[in-house]
Symmetry: C2
Subunit: 392 residues, 2 copies
């Protein structure tokens, strides 16, 4: 029979992530294409202890339904951390728990975007956001992302001319580029938005993972009532529990909560309890330092190999944190070719193409440095150098 | 500042569920208003054993990201159960794991409904569905639900005149009415839909919970390519893990999977692993028999008390399974009054009003019999009888 799907389904880009997942699973392929945190750094024993305690002491509660907003002690923990680390005057009531911060992308778009509304984002920008927003049929305007943040002239013009409902950005160690906004550009972005009715949607999945351990002040500090900020435990504790959050002004959080309730009632309560128990009995900051130092070593190794093994006509970003960097290909070599030929030669990378709203990305690839270990990075980068030299 | 929310937010009904949750939490109030399975029947020790084994033996995998479709052995378990219990030729590849079956409501609406599209449902119908669908701005047409299923004339007229994208129904122990479609009406519903392009969305949250343990054949048996069916472990194992599923023909499942990925990447992997381990090492059917027998005793007690203590002008449905029944009030007593006065006198019920698209429900209340124990049911029904007699 002929199924009559909604009009929006014709707008949704073909998912690249599924192709990726299958590629990453090919035996022998070293993958820099995914976005998984290092399995080696997940504190399985610590989480197992927390799970045992929760199920022994309060299992009957943790396994029952709960409220949509999320487990209050966990929200208080998140709020306290914002106050302490970033100087944000956050309260637990301003935090909503979600199924990983991907769910924020869906539900923020759901509460803000009518078909045809304008929304802004970076180019290159996060693929998961492009996919989530596309279901709500907005007009997406992309602002070039420079080494120190968005092109301010283009950003100001976008806000003035198109009055987007919100601008979505990742100021810390952006996915896919690995770039971080400078403090000057954060202030400038806030200044341009101040007095307009465009919301800044600050995706902060990587702000904990600066290699030097020093936090950067978020845009929300400069524009508190106009900024929503999302966070995630996926990269700093474990992704398999699917726990992230949104921190937003009260009227936005209220609309968001109604959308969340209709979407799935509430997030997994058992894992909220386990996660909180884990956080209350472990030093998260010490754990994060170990993870960030490992990622820093991997990133430096990858950058060194890019400098040493690859054609001199190539360049790359030099991330201060996070899990990704971007490499720019020699003239005449396309990122889609590198992707396809790479898989054949045992190394998977991600072309920047699907990250670029409005075209572009043929000249760049995204490289993940959190999943592989140092030996795999060394071998994989040698393979990748051969692939690119072969395509020249 | 003035936030510019999407047009759809003006269409979303004020949530009744939050008011409910706060009411249910008032100390001393006996609540028949919620929809929680009995906490007493949750096998906390069994789930704790499963959690321990998963975290010891495969914690590093269970805590990592996974694919959108869900854990394959769990999907195979669900498919096998469909084959064995209901004679559905289900395959694991036709099962998608979701965060409780509420997520199916959101995502099915998302892939099928453009603004202004027609959708059909029962009156009274499930509140969570009304809320989830409303975000996609359809025109919702309601068909009266009779004791043995939908009014067939109205159902046929709806399908013919409005050609809804799908009709949403709960054939087994419906929420809120407690009614079950007869086999004749299931066949008739399938017959009316056959040859049209209206999909039947069969929400089967309660099909396991017939008090006599005997399954009823789903509409999907009569109309396999045109029916999607959702299920949930919330009522038969534990709601706090948020694991449900959709079983659908391949083209629908493919669209659904794209929507699921954009919505939250995948469902909680740790709990999928724990749940599967639990199911593989425990007799689910034996567990369900215990739960269903308890609910059957509670339902019979509640029905007897309705017959004995309440005005003779009242009537009620007599459920064969599930967690709810519906009581019809005497002339001149409104369900909203009973709700408000009930809370004051220590018993919470749910007026049928928010369940009725297109009006109605002033004459009926929904009573939950799964949460309270026999003593609480007896005391609560005495209170409720006093409330209603006082309003006469």
């Amino acid at each position: 029979m002929q199924y009559r799907f909604a009009d929006r389904m014709a707008r949704v880009p073909e998912s690249f992530l599924e192709e990726l997942f299958s590629v990453s699973a090919v035996p022998g392929v070293i993958s820099f294409a995914g976005g998984l945190p290092s399995s080696a750094t997940i504190d399985v024993a610590g989480i197992a202890d927390a799970a045992r305690a929760v199920l022994e002491e309060e299992g009957r509660i943790a396994l029952q339904y709960t409220t949509t907003d999320g487990y209050l002690p966990l929200r208080e923990y998140i709020a306290e951390r914002y106050r302490r680390r970033l100087g944000l005057p956050a309260k637990a009531e301003e935090i909503q728990i979600v199924n990983g911060s991907q769910q924020c992308l869906d539900l923020v778009a759901k509460i803000f975007l009518s078909p045809g509304d304008s929304v802004g984002m970076e180019r290159p920008g996060y693929l998961g956001a492009i996919e989530a927003f596309s279901f709500y049929e907005p007009v997406v305007h992309a602002v070039p992302l420079e080494d120190d943040g968005p092109d301010l002239e283009a950003f100001a013009a976008l806000v003035r001319q198109h009055r987007p409902k919100f601008f979505y950005g990742i100021p810390n160690s952006q996915n896919p580029s690995g770039r971080t906004y400078s403090q000057e550009k954060r202030r400038a972005v806030a200044g341009i938005l101040d007095g307009t009715d465009t919301v800044f949607y600050e995706d902060d999945a990587f702000g904990d993972l600066f290699f030097d351990g020093k936090p950067h002040l978020p845009v929300k500090r400069y524009l508190p009532e106009q900024t929503i900020i999302s966070g995630s435990f996926s990269k700093i504790v474990a992704p398999g529990m699917r726990i992230g959050w949104l921190h937003a002004p009260e009227p936005i959080l209220k609309a968001f909560n109604i959308a969340k309730q209709a979407a799935d009632l509430h997030s997994n309560f058992l894992c909220q309890k386990i996660l909180y128990r884990y956080l209350a009995t472990h030093d998260l900051d010490a754990h994060i330092r170990v993870v960030a130092e490992r990622y820093g070593r991997n990133a430096r190794l990858m950058c060194d190999l890019l400098d040493d093994l690859f054609p001199a006509s190539m360049s790359h970003t030099t991330p201060e944190g996070g899990m990704f960097l971007m490499a720019f290909l020699p003239d005449g070599v396309s990122s889609m070719e590198v992707f396809r030929e790479g898989v054949r030669q045992g190394v998977a990378v991600l072309p920047a193409v699907p990250f670029c709203v409005g075209g572009g990305g043929e000249d760049a690839i995204r490289l993940n440095f959190s999943t592989a270990d140092e030996e795999q990075i060394t071998e994989g980068m040698h393979r990748l150098a051969r692939v690119i030299r072969g395509l020249l």
